[in-house]
Symmetry: C2
Subunit: 341 residues, 2 copies
Amino acid sequence: MVKRRISLKDIARELGVSISTVSRGLRDHPDISGELIVRIKELARLRRYTPNPMAMGLLKQRTRMIGVIIPDLLTHFFSSVISGIEEVAKEHGYFVIISSSNESYQKECENIENLMKARVEGFIVCVSQETRDYSHFEQIIDAEMPLVFFDRVCLKDKVPTVTVDNFTASRLITHHFHENGARRIAYISGPEQLSISEERKAGYLSGLRECGLKFRPEYFEECDLSPSSATMATQRLLGLGSPPDAIFGINDTVVFAVMKEIRKSGIAIPDDILLVGFTDEFHATVVEPTLTSVIHPTHEMGQVAAGLFFELVENVGIRPRSVQLETSLVVRNSSVKKSKT
Amino acid sequence: MVKRRISLKDIARELGVSISTVSRGLRDHPDISGELIVRIKELARLRRYTPNPMAMGLLKQRTRMIGVIIPDLLTHFFSSVISGIEEVAKEHGYFVIISSSNESYQKECENIENLMKARVEGFIVCVSQETRDYSHFEQIIDAEMPLVFFDRVCLKDKVPTVTVDNFTASRLITHHFHENGARRIAYISGPEQLSISEERKAGYLSGLRECGLKFRPEYFEECDLSPSSATMATQRLLGLGSPPDAIFGINDTVVFAVMKEIRKSGIAIPDDILLVGFTDEFHATVVEPTLTSVIHPTHEMGQVAAGLFFELVENVGIRPRSVQLETSLVVRNSSVKKSKT
DNA sequence: CTGAAAGCGCTAACAG
DNA sequence: CTGTTAGCGCTTTCAG
């Protein structure tokens, strides 16, 4: 089907020299005469010679491929992280193979297996929300392949990670709510096994304490990050005898569902209830009212993740280094009462 | 860095047989005794042997990699198409390498070059909006590599394509507007060189004619698919002496910007102006009012694209086959006056 | 029934 | 300065 591409042999034959001469010539080996080098390079360019990565891979046992596993492809957050990863990968001459776990533990395992079969050199992963067992990741470590986690992490003592300061971010949200008059602040979290769930909850608790509010368990909800479960969580909150006057959710997708449900109940945002999201999806500025949200440095997160990956590739046995990035709260209309502005 | 993985040689040595025996045993070659086959397979499983794709690639000149080039990673539309491609690719044991052109002609060329160097077997592409010259695609064809276009296409006589029926879709939108009382129907298109721009414009014109409306050039705008240029187009439309009472845009991203701009002008959707999008991004249901839009069978589009790709892989010299999929208009609140409902 | 050898494209050590 | 050879992992003749 595919035309055989030009190889060293072809060039060597045409020039009447040996394959190794061509190989050396192309890489400016000092043993080759300047004049010959020029002739070799000229013909190589003319024939559009490019080295066969399969052959190189076999020889050097390097594929220059990174396996990236993310929970979904549809979220702006992940796409943006990927663009950061790809940028750095390309600088190093690496390719990125993206697989989505669809938030499924089983698919995550399958993806790892498949990518290992394809001989990726290592992995950059954001853990699926279902994942509670980490043996598939330990397998990667046992095979001495580079592994980096971003955003949602685990096995922190063995694996380099890039995260954001979730604790501070949700502390600040709580304060922001309090400053804007809210006293019954609710948080809709994700599955408890996710690192981001836990960290954001801790920040929420700390924020409440600092504001002199006490934690009320009925204002703490968990969902599985799907719009439908976020909707149900919202219904429970709105159905309380004393419903919350402020809600923030673990991400914008969740909060969009919350918003829809609130609107359905005829409650006004921000007048009756304040709303804040997380990760600042593109459409945060399109909805009405525009959504206050925590901006993640997503592109940078990808760059840093890839950076850590290459530290691992280059330095065998480096000890895991973790990077924490800062977020910032963009205040829009959903969290500030119009009367106040 | 990476542990060398188990090879046929390792198994052969351990079993005290030759490499070729193991190779054959693993593939149930009739020449190998049943008993030996069992022993070989058992050890292979035990040692977690998987064939080295580099070696296979070298030998068979097949990499089982497909290069996919899309205009951006951030749009739900493309992510969803990719999921369809990946599904079919996986069934065939292929991997997908995704590259984004960022709507740039130059990046599109670079991506093709890079992926060719990486020896992908072929390409599935959605053309960037900037692309007017097609020689980089012809290069793929000249190399006898499989190439399939989806959504935005070109070189239709040489390359299999998957598209939607853009003509009918925008005809129906025009009719829908007309039925809902609009008489001054505007269309914000994309760059003229894009196949989808042209087809949707043709449907718009045909729809107008069928509704007994005449085409007014001032109601036809072009933008470069960015929110900012969509905003400018909207400003021009709203600034007309007799502004349109209905607008549809080439995609939802454009229409979100239109919506924002209309809202800023204090004009009411749908009461003063009707609005319809294209491609039904996830957030169409989140905005207020919810956006009427044309649903694309995105996942299916990916599956079909990959299907065509494998037809090309399997049948040398097959003549290009094109598939056109149907869309459907989901009517939501942005295009039906409340008084009417 | 099984093994040896060649070759896919390339580099590197070893000879000239 | 240049060529020969071996080997990365695998399949496939060709010999036994």
